[in-house]
Symmetry: C2
Subunit: 200 residues, 2 copies
Amino acid sequence: MSGPIDFYFDFSSPYGYFAAQSIEALGARYGRAVEWHPVLLGAIFKTTGARPLADVPYKGDYSRHDWNRLSRLTGIPFKVPALFPIAAANPSRAFLYVARRDEVNAKRLALALYHAYFVDGRNIGEADVVSAVAAENAFDPVEIGAALVNPAVRDELRHVVGQAEARGVFGSPYFVVDGEPFWGWDRLAMLETWLDRGGF
Amino acid sequence: MSGPIDFYFDFSSPYGYFAAQSIEALGARYGRAVEWHPVLLGAIFKTTGARPLADVPYKGDYSRHDWNRLSRLTGIPFKVPALFPIAAANPSRAFLYVARRDEVNAKRLALALYHAYFVDGRNIGEADVVSAVAAENAFDPVEIGAALVNPAVRDELRHVVGQAEARGVFGSPYFVVDGEPFWGWDRLAMLETWLDRGGF
């Protein structure tokens, strides 16, 4: 088997951020391409009845503690942003706009946006911050700014989120490989076992 | 450090069942005792607003798929019981009653009850099933049956669940070691890293 790994992530999801740092290398070790799909959990949570992690009693505190220790354990820098969570439509649109012509550069932009949010604490939910991060990473900020309000790009994001939901994606990160779903940063090891053994 | 591992589990929790199969061996590898605490997630969910996994759209289906693959991966037998989930007060009371005088035997009873539910599909929520499982495992069924309606044992269960909630336990399995919390079967590897390194 040699199909791609579908990687669903929300730009406002810390566990999505952590997974984004290692999923490409993981795929490469097993000769699998990784297809990135930005999702909006807020929209999907309307169906599942879930709430943002940070709002859930006990679980919210546990999660904040967990993100910081994941950072210590993995060496990946992380800081809970002052504004958290955010609506991730704008960074998602920027990603999709770039991805339509250049997937590699789109992933580079995604990592830069994630870094701006979860390391530098900048509010990437805002269009001008997305454009500024794009400019700092050698993208054309005017072009990106226009993409954020482009109806075709907005439609594409709705389509991507709808497809994810139709596939049963209910959290971030969420992976599908060979039709097999894996939810959560915690399951990267199991996903790797799957790739290593060619299924189980 | 050499404090115990606190292991919180719900008798109706598949991930608790899987964790129960390996937590004693894990503790033993690092010279840590394991203290088992039965909890009732239904009571705790009233505070957190969570719902039983099986009832959550998408997540319920994912979980059922996940339990079956965990069984294949680990070799631990598992079958989703016809009646699932159940209120776990009765098996919890039986456990606490036995644990008060003999912790090792109480763990043996817990594993037998878990097996009766998640392998044989018997409804361990019912008092007479708990007594029957106890009898099959060399406990006195009359004594166990009396314990299930003993006000002191009922009070003790309320106390154990209240203490767990006060500690922030919001799921099953949930572990605390050296004051550090770990939620979920997925985190057994991280818990082991903690024990191996003496913290991180």
